[in-house]
């Protein structure tokens, strides 16, 4: 879904996620906090899809940016009295961007397994830092009492999570427009070129390394903003935003939905987080088993993720109906 031959206009099906979200807002008022969480993870997954699905950069450390963004907003709101939500988002995005640029510039010279291990190391280091600097981060107890002012001075974060849900929905809408623009642009086409054949990219004169650092930084910024949203919605930050676990969860979500398809980042978190919510209620001790089974099923039988499976079914159905039409 990028390149010089595709039609860049938005098809009506692309609005479905937002229509579903609005419907959920009115029909499922008791699930709005889960809903906000899902929207945040969709934004987070979109940022991962940009580097993994389009540029082909593998990472197990994307939580470093999410976590840094979450803690930046948290520390500003709890320790420094900076309670304006947009200022918090701005600083979270900035710190994540700086980390993305600094670490990307170093690790993107490596590839494959080495790169995977380095990304993992960075988020593991951040987790340990957050754990040890408890005067600033609250350590293992987490950071509570994060102040967040009403949005634009008008909309308070209410107990039912209505404001939070709509706030996250708007943030996701903006994030989606930006990512969609990016991947349909020549830059996006160039990213798929890096994914498909790096040797060829060098041979057509592309500064591959700098382009990767750039997209890595953009993706980090988005992940940082997603992290800040989580802090603002919960008014709390815990250590669980850093380290391997959230990175791994995110990767599983994206693989479930479908990598490099833009909307896989929408489907994955919905399926994963709803399954997690349901399974954790039904089988509090074994819920990860259910997630594992789901992942194995998808990887074995639908390597393109849920969206890939839907694509295949649609193609099969089209072929069948066109075969029937030509038989007549």
């Amino acid at each position: 879904m990028s390149g010089y031959t595709v039609d860049p206009r938005i098809r009506w099906t692309e609005w479905i996620p937002f229509l579903v979200a609005l419907a959920a807002f009115f029909l499922l008022p008791e699930y709005l906090s889960l809903g906000a969480r899902i929207l945040i993870f969709i934004l987070f997954a979109l940022s991962l899809d940009l580097i993994l699905g389009y540029a082909g950069i593998v990472t197990l450390g994307h939580s470093a940016f999410f976590g840094l963004g979450a803690y930046t907003a948290g520390i500003l709101g709890a320790k420094y009295g900076v309670a304006d939500p947009f200022i918090q988002l701005f600083f979270s995005g900035t710190t994540a961007a700086i980390l993305g640029l600094a670490t990307g510039a170093i690790i993107l010279r490596t590839r494959a397994l080495t790169l995977l291990m380095l990304t993992l190391a960075i988020t593991a280091i951040l987790l340990e830092v957050a754990n040890k600097m408890s005067s600033l981060t609250g350590g293992a107890d987490g950071l509570s009492g994060v102040q967040v002012n009403p949005i634009l001075g008008l909309f308070r974060f209410d107990l039912f999570g209505r404001t939070a849900f709509l706030y996250c929905l708007v943030a996701l809408l903006i994030g989606w427009i930006v990512v969609r623009r990016l991947i349909y642009s020549p830059f996006g086409a160039m990213l798929t070129g890096i994914r498909e054949n790096r040797a060829r990219m060098h041979a057509i004169g592309a500064p591959v390394y700098w382009r990767m650092v750039l997209v890595y930084t953009l993706s980090a910024t988005m992940a940082g903003i997603a992290g800040a949203l989580l802090t603002q919605v919960n008014q709390f930050v815990g250590l669980n935003v850093l380290g391997l676990e959230p990175s791994g969860d995110l990767l599983v979500m994206l693989i479930l939905g479908g990598v490099g398809r833009l909307y896989g980042a929408f489907v994955g978190p919905v399926v994963y987080l709803i399954a997690q919510d349901y399974l954790a209620k039904q089988y509090p001790e074994y819920w990860y088993f259910g997630i594992g089974a789901l992942l194995m099923t998808v990887v074995l039988f639908a390597p393109g993720g849920i969206l890939g499976l839907i694509d295949k079914c649609l193609q099969f159905w089209k072929q069948k109906s066109s075969a029937r039409a030509s038989a007549r």
Partner: protein
């Protein structure tokens, strides 16, 4: 005439193994030059040094009188050095048009633009499309590169390189692995290459070499054995002994 590409005592060794030894080579604008030599003669190493994929042990390389011995691969491309690969190196899953458009966009400095959709950059698409048309690939523009027969994939290789509007074009075995009836089609297209472009071709297909090249350099064990017109090369006893003779027996 000033050379567009020139090397001066170019050497490369991997440990004790010397694969290029004092290669002096020059290519003039519009040249049709072939590099031949038996397997292991160091042809690919030589090309890789020219493009910047590997660094020479010693010696210098000039592109339009500018020394590029230590310049990056991408920078040399921007200075006008295009290449094709011996092993087909395409964006296999991308449409044929995109394969070429990526190169055109890179040359035009469009590739880093992030807002306007790629498919609305008509100037890039049109140029890629007309390139495909000259190579007879216009009908395949929207097909993924991997779905085309091998002969056509070899032509896409050339189309990508031409999308860079190179001053020097290095063709690394453009007909490698192509059945002989299709290699004629590749030769036809090579004959149509813009006349101002200097072309260096590395090829095993002697038929193709002798029909295409005006000058031939013979490389044996990392050294230039001789250089001359096809007639001179064909008449030379040493060349026949080390190269053409082997070819006939093989």
């Amino acid at each position: 005439m000033p050379a567009v590409l020139e090397t001066e005592k170019l050497c490369k060794s991997f440990g004790a193994l010397t694969v290029a030894q004092n290669i002096d080579f020059r290519l003039e604008p519009g040249a049709r030059h072939a590099l031949i030599g038996p397997n292991g003669a160091g042809k690919t190493t030589f090309v890789n040094m020219l493009t910047g994929a590997i660094a020479p042990t010693s010696g210098r390389i000039f592109l339009n009188d500018q020394e590029v011995s230590k310049t990056s691969q991408a920078a040399r491309v921007r200075l006008g050095l295009g290449r094709t690969f011996q092993i087909t190196t395409l964006y296999r899953r991308l449409p044929v048009l995109d394969n070429v458009a990526l190169a055109v966009a890179e040359r035009e400095g469009v590739a880093r633009r992030m807002w306007k959709p790629a498919s609305r950059h008509a100037e890039i698409k049109d140029e890629a499309m007309s390139l495909l048309a000259t190579l007879g690939l216009a009908d395949d523009a929207s097909v993924p590169a991997q779905d085309l027969p091998y002969g056509k994939q070899r032509l896409i290789e050339i189309a990508i390189a031409l999308g860079l509007k190179p001053k020097v074009l290095l063709l690394d075995e453009p007909a490698a692995g192509v059945p002989s009836q299709e290699s004629a089609k590749i030769l036809d297209n090579l004959a149509k290459l813009p006349s101002e472009v200097a072309v260096l071709i590395i090829e095993h297909d002697m038929d193709l070499v002798f029909r295409f090249a005006q000058q031939i350099t013979v490389l044996v064990q990392g050294e230039v054995l001789m250089q001359g017109t096809p007639t001179e090369i064909a008449a030379d006893k040493r060349v026949r002994a080390v190269y053409l003779g082997e070819g006939i027996h093989a």
